[in-house]
Symmetry: C2
Subunit: 341 residues, 2 copies
């Protein structure tokens, strides 16, 4: 059963024609007779022929592979984006190659190089947290290889990207809290370097301002936004002379940390302190109380990124103007913030 893989040459030999003809027949070239096509197809079948993408890729310089770089594949958000990309890619017979940067700059640089060497036709990526030098990505762009960044991106970069309207998400969340009667709303924010956190902070501030609530610096806690950070931050808030009556966290993870602290101390959610997260991670659905959060449209984000890729591919050699897509977040209101019916 260890028979060698058949090539178009094997088919050609069997039918006493040339490989060129076989190649053309297989792709339904108009200048090949129906009879030959039928014969080739049949021979391919019996020989169990399977095209060698590698050879085709070498010849025409397109691998039909999209490279994806995510900080980590095992986070719900990123794996959903991946799924979104794959959906679109597969529909066009493209495959995806996934790499993880582990939120590490050096690994990210190495990964870009690896994907370039693998001759992927394009790269879809989300920055590692530590990345603040973008040369490796610019190199991709300058080679004429489609590059689409998502979620974590950089406004100034002349590159296509798909991001969430983080500002609006935050604005909606905070406005919702205000509508629920909250007066002192705290905010957990992340590294300032990453624009998504800056934008969420901006949405927070403006929502307060638009509702005549003064901005209080002491209610904004910066951290790494993990669960443990949420615990720390919440404790810090509770130790204030005048603690908040609501917390809007830029991450579901730290929101969950906050929730734990509150439950331990028997502080009622949302009656005493209302809670809103960001991300709509699956676990927010299972928490008690269920966490109000902002959905990041992860799958749509993947879809959009893939679509931009195909647009750019379709544009061929023509210069492609980087396309910026902004998705509208959805506020998912659940019990953790629902004070009124």
């Amino acid at each position: 059963m260890k028979r060698e893989r058949a090539t178009i040459h094997d088919i050609a030999k069997k039918l006493d024609i040339t490989a060129s003809t076989v190649s053309r027949a297989l792709k339904d070239h108009p200048r090949i007779s129906e009879a030959t096509k039928k014969a080739v197809l049949k021979a391919a079948q019996t020989l169990n022929y399977q095209p060698n993408h590698i050879a085709a890729a070498l010849r025409n310089g397109r691998s039909k592979i999209i490279g994806i770089i995510v900080p980590t594949a095992d986070r719900s958000f990123f794996s959903s984006v991946v799924r979104g990309i794959e959906e679109i890619a597969n529909a066009s017979k493209y495959n995806v190659m996934i790499c993880q940067s582990y939120d590490n700059y050096d690994k990210e640089v190495a990964t870009v190089e690896a994907l370039l060497n693998a001759r992927v036709d394009g790269i879809v990526a989300s920055f590692a947290k530590g990345t603040d030098n973008f040369d490796h990505f610019l190199k991709v762009r300058d080679k004429g290889i489609p590059l689409i960044l998502f979620d974590r991106s950089n406004e100034d970069l002349e590159v296509s990207n798909v991001i969430l309207d983080d500002y609006q998400g935050a604005y909606k969340a905070v406005t919702h809290l205000i509508n629920q009667g909250c007066k002192r709303i705290a905010h957990f924010t992340g590294i300032r370097k990453i624009s998504i956190y800056r934008e969420r902070l901006r949405g927070y501030r403006e929502a307060l301002q638009d509702n005549g609530i003064p901005f209080d610096e002491s209610l904004v806690i910066g951290s790494n936004m993990q669960l443990e950070d949420g615990i720390e931050s919440m404790k810090k808030l509770l130790s204030l002379a005048s603690p908040p009556d609501a917390v809007f966290s830029s991450s579901d993870y730290s929101a969950m940390g906050a929730m734990q602290v509150l439950k331990e101390r028997r502080i009622r959610i949302p009656e005493d302190i209302a809670l809103v997260g960001f991300g709509n991670e699956p676990f927010t659905w299972f928490s008690e109380p269920q966490l109000t959060t902002v959905d990041q449209r992860s799958k749509e984000m993947g879809n959009a990124a893939a679509e931009i890729f195909f647009e750019q591919i379709g544009a061929g050699k023509k210069p492609f103007v980087p396309k910026k897509t902004v998705l509208k977040p959805e506020l998912i209101i659940r019990k953790s913030s629902l004070k009124k019916g």
Copy 2:
């Protein structure tokens, strides 16, 4: 900046040597002088040479890519396995290509074909739920391409695999419940076709038996193991004349469904009914009460699968005896089952 990609020929021309020499110099061939090697390396640098993996792959028949097929990439368990595989693969300069079967047999078959055409060096896969014909996988094996199945596998298949000792996981979980004083323990089980569910059921039965607790058919509920199914199943159990005092679910998802029903009906967990899930999904940590569950060693599973791949690759043409690895599950005891201190 749109300069063409440099090849070894460009380097050769620049140094007035042949491509053969360049190729050998780049891979540190012993028959090339140090002087030449140094010169080649330097030229490669200045020309910004990047090796074309596609060409190399075509020539030596190895793409340095491992294909992965998972039902869905956005489930914590699978994405962790992927991460585990990638860790090991990357260390050996391999990349992974991820595909999703969406738990659909036809898509799975097509995906196997696609990976074969992409000339991956091996395939790591977990069955789609509906898969009961394995010809497409046997075809992979018969081509001499390393195939490693994980989690969802099939004992009878002469193929390497990495699975969890589901029997032991279930046995531990149920024994734990018994130690907590539970007498009537119910069980949620999945499709019989999938061995993991059969094994968990077996562990459940034997743990009961070994502790002198009679097996009660009416306490075993079969379903699709999603959250909704857990809700249904729990309701069914509560309508029994004599409801259980514990539930061991073969899935965290349906366990969460059960938890919801119990909380709605003000049935105390674990005092009235103790709950144990399976999978150690992230949300089990955030639930209230936190869910006792069985960890599936997902990342280790990925690591192990990748290691088997490299073993088989290393074995070369020598016939490789399929290697079966069984990982030991860990019972994570949390509040949902902790009746005693």
